[in-house]
Amino acid sequence: AAGVIQSPRHLIKEKRETATLKCYPIPRHDTVYWYQQGPGQDPQFLISFYEKMQSDKGSIPDRFSAQQFSDYHSELNMSSLELGDSALYFCASSPTNRGLTEKLFFGSGTQLSVL
């Protein structure tokens, strides 16, 4: 069965550079969530999209932006990278954000290292 695809798996950047993370949800899933997991930390919610519109916003820095495209894939854009941005970034998809009983399906994550 198709899963949530994230690319790249690993990304190394330097301070003040930009990065773009991509997420391809499971087919027919219309909701995408982005989470950030620092070393030894629990995943922290960043932002979510439902039907290409932002549906919720969490602890996402102003330097970050994201969008969901017409094919439902999503991109997380990160600018002016800081050392503290080094983390594992997870994308998750769900059949619908209205179905609170639905589980989230997570991708394998993108490991971002800022040097």
Binding site: D42, P43, N97, R98, L100, F106, S108
Partner: protein, 114 residues
């Protein structure tokens, strides 16, 4: 505010013994509770969920969890642990709003020794 607490950073059990990973929650309204497991270099994998009904929920890989409303707990259990169960376990609550995001606990590392 919705929150989830996992009081133990690490749980150590011997293979074949029962295991319990603790989770307590604080939500307004009816909770939607989940357990996810994270293996090294892997994404979070769904184990089980409680929505309504029977307080004992059975999930993947022989895991189960017991919902206790009076104690606001949702402990993860398994009758007989396997070495391969060693991983990081997250309890999560689904926020009863329009967006349904998950709020995760701090995570508990389960170490099963042969």
């Amino acid at each position: 505010a919705q929150s989830v607490a996992q009081p133990e950073d690490q749980v150590n059990v011997a293979e074949g013994n029962p295991l319990t990973v603790k989770c307590t929650y604080s939500v307004s309204g009816n909770p939607y509770l989940f357990w996810y497991v994270q293996y090294p270099n892997r994404g979070l994998q769904f184990l089980l969920k409680y929505i309504t009904g029977d307080n004992l929920v059975k999930g993947s890989y022989g895991f189960e969890a017991e919902f206790n409303k009076s104690q606001t707990s949702f402990h993860l259990k398994k009758p007989s642990a396997l070495v391969s169960d060693s991983a990081l376990y997250f309890c999560a609550v689904r926020v009863p709003s329009n967006t349904g995001k998950l709020i995760f606990g701090q995570g508990t590392t389960l170490q099963v020794k042969p």
